[in-house]
Symmetry: C2
Subunit: 173 residues, 2 copies
């Protein structure tokens, strides 16, 4: 799938079919993460791929903001080691994962994990205490909602500026 | 360009040709940012597109870690408003910008901006004090280094884990 088309059509997905995700597709998603840029190329990330049905169910129970994890076929926990910009580097890696997954017919949704839930997920997945758990991304073949129900975006003019903040950005062509 | 191919071939670029970047291409890059997902769809971002040669030169002087900004055709300052995960959301938006730029023949490089430089860039671009300046991304048509000189990646086995942290992730197919 074309990059721009993938970015334009991508939606956040919380409903997944029962179709299994092959190892080949999982491998592509993880490669996309691995090839992301990071601060000083430190590659400070770890990705825990969870395919065990019981563990996936348990993750859905723990992460109350993302109970739909329990319906996914594979969940990938994103964990950062000591680094200067853990959130930013994680964001770059997970966006590459999401786009490749989308191009393969899958979908995902970022799940925020709060205080106590952090401890529970870290315990469940054996994540070292000194590492930062960013999210658990559920993946599965997507069930799309009705067309046209994507989340709206602010108009371009509201988020872009030309030369200085507050000045309109104009396009000649 | 295919998503996976763009992700696989993308390199960090610090050398740009003198070829101008059309408004149409700049618009596509900004659309890619606009369509990125964000925490609770808050879209907390602002993008200041700088095309004025003098301002670009000055940005290259201020940002000593990214003096190559001065050689770019357009620089986009990424600025975040009040939000829960500014760095993560910014990472997602800028990765989408980078991939679309790459598919158009352009390149970029993340530039970290330190304390005093932050103040200078914010002053130069009129960025409100209470907003967070994440980076200034330089864009231009890329001059590639010799093939094979991309930054190496850790082996897959070092950054991936199966079911639990520390357990090998194996692929059957």
């Amino acid at each position: 799938m074309d990059v721009f088309n993938a970015i334009r059509t991508r939606r956040t997905i919380r409903d997944f079919t029962d179709a299994p995700v092959s190892d080949a597709v999982l491998h592509k998603i993880l490669q996309a993460a691995r090839w992301a840029p990071s601060s000083s190329n430190t590659q400070p990330w770890h990705f825990i791929a969870v395919r065990d049905a019981d563990t996936i169910k348990r993750l859905g129970e723990i992460c109350t903001q993302g109970s739909f994890i329990g319906k996914s076929q594979v969940a990938i926990a994103v964990v950062m080691g000591e680094t200067r910009r853990p959130q930013l580097d994680a964001g770059r890696a997970l966006q590459q994962m999401e786009l490749v997954a989308w191009s393969e017919g899958l979908g995902t949704c970022f799940v925020g994990i709060r205080g106590e839930q952090q401890d529970e997920v870290k315990s469940l997945l054996g994540i070292p205490e000194d590492m930062e758990l960013i999210t658990v991304l559920p993946f599965g073949y997507r069930i799309m909602r009705e067309p046209g129900t994507g989340t709206p975006r602010k108009p371009m003019s509201e988020i872009t500026h030309g030369e200085k903040f507050g000045q309109a950005l104009t396009f000649a062509d």
